[in-house]
């Protein structure tokens, strides 16, 4: 075995911290399970681990420094199977990260594995083209097809998947520039900007709306038509519903999300002498201080 100091790349006088730091840096690079394609990683990892085992033990390090033992004496004993030794099983078995691949994934995988790598003799791929496209809030929520007119007059039908978010980029394979040398055409990359809606807002797949209600509706309760992205629905407001009350329209959001309705009580702005006269003399049966939690003197 080589000089452990040289293996870890540290000075002979290095302190424990420097040695640990050097070891961790190398171990992160050379751990066999992190390098399934590099058979030599196992030997490297064992060497640096053995060097670290020796140098991190003050007694062994002292004996080594005094020449009493050589580096061989500390070779790691127990044989072990690395995770990568289980070959395909980590990927295909119970530690699979997600659902199995569809045909499309496989195609793009192979394309990425071989297709893009510029190797000798390959035809040059055409350039990717970048476009931007504005989509209405409701169109983005429900999904739609938009026609994009390209600078050269050609058109491109862009399928907007339901629930698309502002700033997302769609890639249309082969819709970019043609290859100059008979290779694959580039892709069209379309950045979507979703226009804000006058009253719908979005939080993930949930749609949120502020719903103004009159004083009568808030106090007496009411059935109110409320817009959703799929068209209006009837919502029952319970009597004595306050501003800020949030109601949920289940499944009326985007792709299984919900719509939330936040009530906002609107008081009349025009003169209402009868209401004012009533309030001037009104003695509530249950007086409340709405600011009690604020502890204002």
């Amino acid at each position: 075995m080589k000089d452990p100091y040289k293996l870890l790349g540290v000075e002979r006088g290095a302190d424990d911290k420097a040695i640990q730091k050097a070891y961790r840096k190398l171990a992160k690079l050379h751990h066999p399970d992190l390098n399934p394609d590099k058979p030599e990683a196992e030997a490297t990892f064992k060497d640096i681990s053995a060097a670290y085992t020796l140098l991190s033990d003050p007694e062994k390090r002292g004996r080594f420094d005094r020449g009493e033992i050589d580096a061989e004496g500390t070779e790691q004993g127990a044989a072990r199977n690395f995770y990568r030794d289980f070959g395909d099983r980590p990927g295909s078995g119970k530690y699979q990260s997600g659902p199995a691949f569809g045909d499309e994934d496989l195609e793009s995988l192979l394309r990425n594995a071989f297709g893009r790598r510029p190797r000798g003799g390959f035809a040059m791929r055409g350039a990717d083209m970048h476009y931007t496209l504005s989509v209405d809030f409701v169109d983005a929520a429900k999904g739609t097809v938009k026609r994009l007119t390209l600078p050269d007059g050609a058109t491109l039908d862009v399928t907007i998947p339901a629930g698309l978010k502002d700033g997302q980029v769609l890639r249309l394979k082969g819709k970019g520039q043609a290859s100059p040398s008979g290779g694959a055409a580039g892709d069209a990359l379309i950045e979507i900007s979703v226009m804000p809606h006058p009253f719908f807002r979005r939080d993930g797949n949930d749609v949120i709306i502020d719903l103004p209600v009159t004083v009568q509706e808030a106090v007496m309760g009411a059935k109110i038509r409320v817009p959703t992205i799929e068209g209006p629905v009837t919502l029952t407001i319970q009597p004595r519903s306050n501003s800020g009350t949030r109601m949920r329209l289940k499944g009326r959001g985007i792709a299984g999300g919900h719509q939330f309705v936040d009530l906002r009580v609107v008081i009349p702005t025009a003169a209402e002498p009868e209401l004012e006269a009533f309030l001037a003399t009104w003695q509530p049966q249950h007086p409340v201080d709405p600011r009690s939690a604020m502890e204002v003197p």
Binding site: D33, P36, F86, S92, G98, L110, G183
Partner: protein
Amino acid sequence: MMKLEAIVTRFPDLEIVELTAWIEQGWIRLESDTPAAWVFDGIDVARIELIYDLRRRLGVQEDTVPMVLSLLDQVYELRATLKAVTGALEHQPAEVRAAVVAALAGADAS
């Protein structure tokens, strides 16, 4: 096949409590939910050694381990898929293999 008690004896400083926490966080996936029935086969042991290396030797923080494992699982899954594809190709007639190689080389050249 090994039991929990046998696993921890393989490590100088791994307690059952910590290993149990790894399992409960889903880092190691076992057939049973009840600790008494836990058995570990070769791949589980190798995965425990990997997590042990990440935590103890490489100094990976606990909250970073799931990210590392997730990335590794994806790498191994892609490798397995690629291996399955190349394996399937090996059993194809020579002209099919040549066509695939040509298709990969020229991408959409046709």
